[in-house]
């Protein structure tokens, strides 16, 4: 069969950043994929070596606009490893709170975009509605909705005000409840099962070979999580679970992310309760010569920072590896054999959501009489869902949870 090349990118609507994918297709089937990066290269590693140890924290914060605290925490971990500094316990708990708030809003952003990409705009609006209070919390606690500038080698820059905690507790309870509803709705939707199950399967062997990280590897059933594997901040003192899902496909990646939001909210609640009083900064005076490695679990996976100092005021080498750097090459394993339409889904790791008609009614044009009320439409939607469920046999462990939630209403 004739082989055709389909270029995707470097600028294309599914990805926020510029990347170039070259798809080699035979008919509709993708037989090979080639990737080209470097369109966003800003020379941050080099720039960091021109700043002092403290300023570099701000430079690395600008690597990513969404996970803006992951890079700083990996960097301060690296500097603290270099000098073997210990930081005050209160700072460790505050670091957990900031990191987990970020994970929640980042995952919700992704859920919303995923919904938007596959045409379920309801979920896009829903997820972003839930995301907004999280950003409000970030703003109240740190002064900014994003780019919090809270990390510094040796501790954190600003203390949290305990007067805000009751309100944050309330918001966390709310997000847990909302997420349980969203998880139920999304993971129970037969259309999404049909669209995402068995698509973009990353086998555990491939996941290991490509050294993938974060939800990408946990969706292949491997419980790799830096928060457990190499604990930093106060993660080793909190009670939480690493979420994994064994089906390795796009559906699994969505499930992992959604369930992680609930775990993060629980962690934030615990951290606020357990946080001790005390100083927030170890006041590091100088950084000795040597090398240090720090990593952190960003929403998308492990962020890796390596620094080397010569006893001077700035790092002489600062190596940064973001999670997508190892996750993107795995497309070579996940995309081949699928159709072009699926590749769009896999590359954006696109996902679930569900369509809702509950706030709409159909009226006869010339009269005010509703021929189908919101209730009728809801019933109609449910009957379609029931029929699809029978056709596709959607079975999920969350079904029970949904039933319970509906009963409670």
């Amino acid at each position: 069969m004739k082989r055709t090349v389909v270029p995707l990118g470097p600028f294309h609507p599914l990805l926020e950043e510029a990347e170039f994918f070259k798809l080699y297709v035979e008919g509709e089937t993708v037989v090979d994929i080639d990737m080209r990066i470097g369109y966003m290269h800003r020379g941050i590693e080099k720039l960091s070596t021109l700043k002092n140890w403290d300023q570099s924290t701000f430079v690395v914060e600008r690597i990513c606009g969404i996970c803006s605290t992951s890079h700083p925490i990996a960097y301060v971990n690296a500097v603290e490893d270099l000098g073997q500094f210990t930081i005050p316990e209160r700072a460790e708990y505050i670091r957990v709170i900031i990191c987990e708030l970020e994970r929640i809003h980042s995952h919700l952003l992704w859920v919303g975009l995923a919904g938007h990409f596959i045409g379920y705009d309801t979920v896009f609006m829903w997820a972003w509605k839930y995301r907004e209070p999280i950003l409000d919390i970030c703003e109240k606690l740190t002064g900014n909705r994003n780019h919090y500038a809270m990390m510094k080698p040796g501790g954190i820059r600003r203390d949290l005000n305990p007067d805000d905690f009751p309100w944050v507790h309330k918001e966390m309870d709310k997000i847990i409840k909302e997420m349980e509803m969203l998880v139920g709705a999304v993971l129970d939707d037969p259309v999404l099962h049909a669209r995402t199950k068995g698509i973009g399967v990353l086998t555990p062997e491939d996941a290991k070979g490509y050294a993938t990280v974060g939800p990408t590897v946990r969706a292949s059933g491997i419980p790799d999580d830096i928060r457990v594997d190499d604990p930093y901040a106060a993660y080793d003192r909190l009670d939480w679970e690493v979420i994994t899902w064994g089906s390795c496909d796009v559906f699994a990646k969505a499930a992992v992310r959604l369930l992680e939001i609930i775990e993060s909210a629980k962690m934030i609640k615990q951290a606020m309760d357990d946080m001790p009083e005390g100083p927030i900064d170890a006041c590091i005076k100088s950084v000795p010569a040597g090398e240090g490695i720090g990593h952190a679990e960003a929403p998308r996976g492990e962020v890796f920072h390596y620094v080397r100092g010569d006893g001077g005021n700035s790092p002489i080498r600062h190596k940064i590896r973001a999670p997508s750097y190892v996750n993107i090459p795995s497309f070579k394993a996940t995309c081949v054999g699928h159709t072009i339409s699926d590749v769009a889904l896999i590359t954006a790791a696109v996902d679930p959501c569900y369509c809702c008609t509950e706030r709409m009614a159909v009226f006869e044009r010339d009269s005010d009489e509703a021929i189908m009320s919101g209730k009728d439409l809801t019933e109609r939607s449910r009957s379609v869902t029931r029929r699809l469920k029978e056709d596709y046999g959607a079975e999920t462990p969350v079904e029970k949870m949904v039933a319970k939630l509906l009963k409670g209403q």
């Binding site: 470097g38 490893d81 240090g292 080397r308 190596k319």
Partner: protein
């Protein structure tokens, strides 16, 4: 799980091949090897010990270019870094991308920024530098002065 720590397994297997072992802390170890032994050591760490290659770093020093391969061992909470040094002016080392796909990109990047040639690399192309970047100019070399 295996009773023996990965570091001891590696020590027993390679013995004197490991030129230096520096245990910085309980979960950070640096192992120095000659560049000819890098593929064997990395193969052993990846295949036999189940290490995950986090990434590799390259640093230009006065005496040559240092390459560090960072392997994470999840169950032991330990990060073992394999260090080696390649001589300038034309640094060359055997690629580990042949058996470890995770290394393919980072080796291409190290070629881009430091000019290290990885022999037998499965895909020896540029990765991050632009297509019109001049040949033979490497921004992370000590003698880099910028381009016109």
């Amino acid at each position: 799980m295996n009773e023996e720590k990965t570091l001891d397994t590696v020590k027993n297997k390679f013995g004197d091949t490991l030129l230096d072992i520096f245990e910085r802390s309980a979960n950070r170890v640096y192992v120095t090897v000659d560049k000819k032994d890098v593929p064997a050591v990395c193969w052993f760490m990846f295949r036999e010990c189940g290490g995950r290659l986090c990434t590799a770093s390259g640093i230009d020093t006065r005496s040559g270019i240092e390459i560090l391969y960072h392997f994470m061992f999840v169950s032991e909470h330990q990060l073992i870094t394999v260090k080696t040094k390649v001589a300038k002016p034309s640094p060359e080392i055997e690629s580990i991308g042949t058996f470890l796909p995770a290394a393919i990109w980072i080796e291409r990047e190290l070629f881009d920024i430091l000019g290290v040639t990885f022999t037998n690399h499965p895909d020896p192309r540029r990765l991050i530098m632009a297509d019109d970047w001049p040949e033979g100019v490497y921004p992370f070399r000590r003698d880099f002065k910028g381009v016109d």
